[in-house]
């Protein structure tokens, strides 16, 4: 018999957990032998607790020993010895702690159970062909989704905890022998140096990992689909799965990724190439169209074809606003409608669209407040924005910047703005990978999966941009 006072220990744990309402314990005594269970009932599987621990304990006839408990009494696979200092951490992780008065060993049984969603198609990444599963908020489920697709002993899963209060688990996942060691080391260092009280979503660690956290442009990829993450890991990238977040981060990230979609790999590569070009055009139209239209209208009207010029002149005649204010007004109107439609319940969304698009737009034109070409240009630019939904927020800011540049400085302003932004993007390195690779710098071998794609069987090598250890896909 050890001198371990179970009741005293339970009280101590209860005190440390501030007597929270979900704190629970059970206590068994038989022939002078005592067994105590401590857990948080909100995060464990209570049915399993009854069948795998309570019932066997009550019905066990012989003398308890710690080996008995581990091997035959507790009907759970995940039973381990822990140290006393880890009791609180284990309880908060959904474990049941078993204390006894006949051994100093402390057992931890994993009975963790949270209410989780079933994997379903992510709302922002729907596909026509290909897998529809998406990540959920549970780390274990997300790991399962990856493991199911990547049956390799080289798949490494390392967990670190971040956040002094939330103790959020972040799983660093990569394929040993493919991912670049320097990148892995840098990620681990950066995660280790995160000083914050809590991480509640993967987006919250972005600024800690990015080299330019104030940048408008994201430098780390975010994915909702396990098939995409596995494909990226096979290219030599590292995935960060953050507990409680359905978004998995992938590192390094290059800008071209936003033009790519998982659907591209499940359809004909000619069509995929076409779609990617259209996405790029959409991106350019979204950013430049309003500013370019303004610059043409204000400074360079002599460049416009005569028929088009006459149409614009007729429709803008008598407007109370200057061209710049007119476009800005329509732009803000669209942006307000967008924000409203995002936050309104779906049953009100339709009504808002009707009020916004039909009544405000149509009446605005009829009342002579705005011109039809202005509405068309802004609408076109706003629709084009969603050819790359991942970049919608950044593009909206750029739309406004180019609107000001075009309106105030004309074509010089727009060209200078474009060069400035590309130069800025070229100064970004995402964990050693040039942000605009494979175009700046041009990496010929990586162009196979660039704007134009080639069939999968021709992509024999992993992208050089990410400096993978193993360059060949064999």
């Amino acid at each position: 018999m050890s001198d371990f006072n179970i009741r005293k220990e339970i009280e101590k744990v209860k005190e440390e957990l501030n007597s929270c309402i979900d704190f629970a314990y059970r206590y068994y005594k038989k022939n002078g032998q005592e067994v105590g269970l401590i857990f948080l009932k909100s995060i464990i599987d209570q049915t399993l607790l009854s069948s795998a621990i309570y019932y066997p304990l009550q019905t066990f006839q012989n003398e308890f020993t710690i080996d008995n408990l581990k091997t035959s009494i507790i009907k759970c696979a995940d039973v381990k010895d822990i140290e006393k200092k880890d009791i609180i951490k284990e309880i908060l992780d959904g474990k049941v702690i078993i204390l006894t008065n006949f051994s100093l060993q402390i057992l931890s049984v994993d009975l963790y159970k949270f209410p989780t969603r079933t994997p379903s198609e992510p709302p922002t990444s729907p596909v026509i062909q290909g897998p529809r599963e998406g990540f959920v908020e549970d780390l274990q489920t997300n790991i399962t989704l990856l493991r199911r697709r990547l049956k390799s002993p080289n798949m490494i899963l390392e967990v670190v905890r971040v956040g002094s209060q939330t103790q959020t688990k972040i799983c660093i996942s990569y394929i040993k022998g493919i991912a670049n060691d320097k990148v892995i080391k840098e990620i681990k260092n950066k995660l280790k140096n995160i000083k914050t009280d809590g991480i509640v979503d993967s987006y919250m660690i972005l600024s800690f990992l990015e080299d330019k956290p104030n940048s408008l442009f994201k430098q780390i990829g975010n994915q909702e689909k396990p098939d995409v993450v596995v494909a990226k890991m096979l290219e030599g990238r590292v995935a960060l799965i953050v507990d409680n977040s359905p978004i998995v981060l992938t590192i390094p990230f290059v800008f071209i990724e936003d033009l790519q979609n998982s659907n591209d790999y499940y359809t004909n590569h000619h069509y995929s190439s076409l779609v990617r070009v259209i996405r790029l055009l959409g991106l350019l139209i979204a950013i430049i169209a309003p500013g370019f239209y303004l610059s043409m209208q204000i400074y360079h009207y002599n460049i416009l074809p005569l028929n088009f010029l006459v149409t614009i002149a007729n429709t803008t005649q008598g407007l109370p606003f200057t061209p710049f204010l007119e476009i800005l007004f329509i732009f803000l109107l669209f942006q307000i409608l967008y924000e409203v439609s995002l936050r309104l319940p779906s049953y009100l969304g339709l009504a808002t669209s009707i009020v916004g698009a039909l009544i405000l737009g149509d009446t605005g034109v009829k009342a002579g407040l705005i011109s039809p070409p202005g509405v068309i240009i802004v609408a076109l630019s706003k629709i084009a924005l969603y050819t790359i939904p991942e970049e919608a927020s950044q593009i909206t800011v750029l739309q406004l910047v180019f609107l000001f540049l075009g309106g105030s400085l004309g074509i010089i302003g727009i060209t200078c703005g474009a060069i400035y932004i590309i130069n800025y993007l070229n100064s970004i390195d995402s964990f050693g990978t040039p942000y605009l690779a494979p175009y700046g710098p041009k990496i010929s071998s990586d162009l196979k999966d660039g704007l134009f794609t080639e069939p999968i069987q021709k992509m024999k090598n992993r992208p050089k941009s990410f400096s993978p250890k193993n360059k060949e896909r064999v």
Binding site: L304, P305, G410, I411, I412, I419, N426
Partner: protein, 361 residues
Amino acid sequence: MKQTINIRQCGIILIMCIFANKLLLMPSLLYTNVKADGIFVTAILFLIELAIIPLIFLLKKHFPKQSLYEILKSRTGVIFTKLIYMLLLIFFLFKIILVFSITYVYFKQQIYKDEIIWIALISILPVINHSVANGIRPLARTMEIFFALVLIGFLACLGFSLFTNIELPHMFLSDIQSFFGAMYKHLFSFGDMIFLFLILDKIEIKEGEEKKVYHYAILGFILIIMLYFLYYGKYQVTSFMHNNALADILVFSVQFNAIGRLDIIAMITILFITIFQLEIFSYGFSDCFLHIFPKLNNIYSIIVFDITFLILYYFFLGKYEIMINLTSTWLTVLAVIINVIFPLILFVIYLVKRSKNEETD
């Protein structure tokens, strides 16, 4: 960490240097001096300039990983090196003013039809300052990304110009004296490849890649000669009147106007080329400044550049006629030093090093 560029990026920088200052006013200026023989003046000056490329490769081979400053300092001493860098700094500063003046006239006459100096300055200065602050690698990568656009734009301008009547330009009309006189007079408008000496240690060359640079140089040369040929062929005796060659070869085309006013092609192409040239020369200015004043950082070089540029441009050289006059008088002397004497000095340094190496062997 030292920023490096690859051979392709080096070639693209080279093309931008070849284009520098030759696309707008230069053909008409040359026509004033030597009529359509301006084509030959350009070709000969280009071939002289081309000699810089093998010299760069030889220096890189014999002084691996050493910068121009280190090479010069170790062979000629600090004072002489700083003097050379001071001359290079002045050279690049006036290059910037020249390119800006000529392009500004184009902006004013063809695009804005109004005095727009502040628009041009507000737009362009932050972009070139930002580019200098970021360094040579983002600059080279940016040019690499836009290179296809620039090339297509350039070729489109040349292609659309074929829709008008073009006759063979009347050549061999100038005498030998005016021919060489024109070469001397416009020497400052050439020699832009000198910039490559400044980034000598930043160019990464793998074995057998040297020829790529020659390909880019020849491409640039062919495009320039084609432009001059089409320009003189189109405007013949009125060539001296048209100041914006690349844009002007597009106009007066029936077929061209039927598509719509596509001046935008020339406009955007010229804008991109101009900004890249200004960025290159501005980087050259900054690099020289930082070697002359090693204790100061990039920010100081940018501030000094902005102030000097604004003062010189706004108060002294605002009218491009003054700048053109300056380039054919005082700046020609500077051009002789930088374009001819300076490469010769480097060639001598190379010969000395080679003979020393042979002795060691």
